[in-house]
């Protein structure tokens, strides 16, 4: 069972709220202070990606975040419900999630395509030591985890 679950309307303004909540829960779960910036950035990237995907494909559907204190690991799963397509091969990030299905990835079109699709996920892989990206018929899930202190 998740320690905290958050669902939010896919609006860019809510991404900040999501990463602030994730940072607070990570701190409460015992994640080292030195890692909190990484948690904040990685969760923000995952949520930004999900929000963009929902705005394109299903703006009425909420984005979901699950944050779980598993004792020695703090786990965050960001899930979207945007459709996936086999025509968009994904060459981005995956800590050890090799072999997952192709994803629809969101490019930053407003920047004249200078940032390639999958860039946000690539950033996440540079931040979290454990990243799994999975694609199903229901959407995409980005699972990230960080070490947390085991409390007595």
């Amino acid at each position: 069972m998740a320690t905290v679950e958050v669902t939010f309307t896919p609006l860019p303004a809510h991404v900040r709220t999501a990463r602030l909540v994730a940072t607070a829960v990570a701190r409460r779960s015992g994640v080292d202070e030195a890692l909190l910036d990484e948690v904040r950035l990685a969760v923000g990237e995952a949520c930004s990606r999900a929000v963009e995907a929902h705005r394109r494909h299903c703006p009425a559907e909420p984005v979901r975040i699950e944050m779980t204190d598993q004792g020695e690991r703090f786990v965050v799963v960001v899930s979207d419900h945007a459709p996936t397509a086999s025509s968009a091969p994904f060459g981005g990030a995956s800590g050890n999630g090799a072999g997952h299905a192709p994803l629809v990835e969101v490019a930053h079109e407003e920047d004249d395509g200078v940032i390639p699709a999958g860039f946000g996920l690539a950033v996440i892989s540079g931040l979290a030591d454990d990243v799994h990206v999975s694609s199903t018929s229901y959407g995409v899930s980005v699972r990230m985890s960080w070490p947390s202190a085991v409390r007595a």
Binding site: P12, R40, L41, E45, S48, E110, D111, I115, A122, V123
Partner: protein
């Protein structure tokens, strides 16, 4: 914290002061400012990020987009940043090789003058 933007001209170089968080919500405002400056023939830009508290890939995209626009006019876009948590995202993405990154606005301006 929201995003605060300001800009001024120093020695013919436009300095953009950025304060707060640059993310998917606020980045469009920075993008609009950079486009506006380029449209007004400012092709030598320094973006001062010393008061930036958060930067994500959307913000990076805006900066790279700005760099692309000024380079189309033989200009350049340099950054001022000493914060490790902000520099880290530039290192992860390899963009430290794309942007000139300086410790102070004065050093950034001096470097630009040497380029001329």
């Amino acid at each position: 914290m929201d995003l605060k933007l300001g800009h001024y001209n120093k020695d013919g170089i436009e300095v953009v002061d950025v304060e707060g968080e640059i993310d998917v919500y606020t980045a469009p405002r920075l993008r609009e400012l950079l486009i506006d400056l380029v449209n007004k023939n400012n092709y030598q830009l320094v973006v001062n990020m010393e008061k930036v508290e958060f930067l994500d890939s959307t913000g990076l995209g805006v900066l790279v987009g700005g760099l692309k626009r000024v380079r189309a006019h033989d200009g350049s876009l340099d950054l001022v940043c000493t914060q490790e948590r902000i520099l880290k995202i530039f290192r992860i993405t390899g963009l430290t090789k794309v942007f000139g990154i300086h410790e102070t606005v004065d050093l950034a301006i001096a470097a630009k003058k040497l380029e001329k």
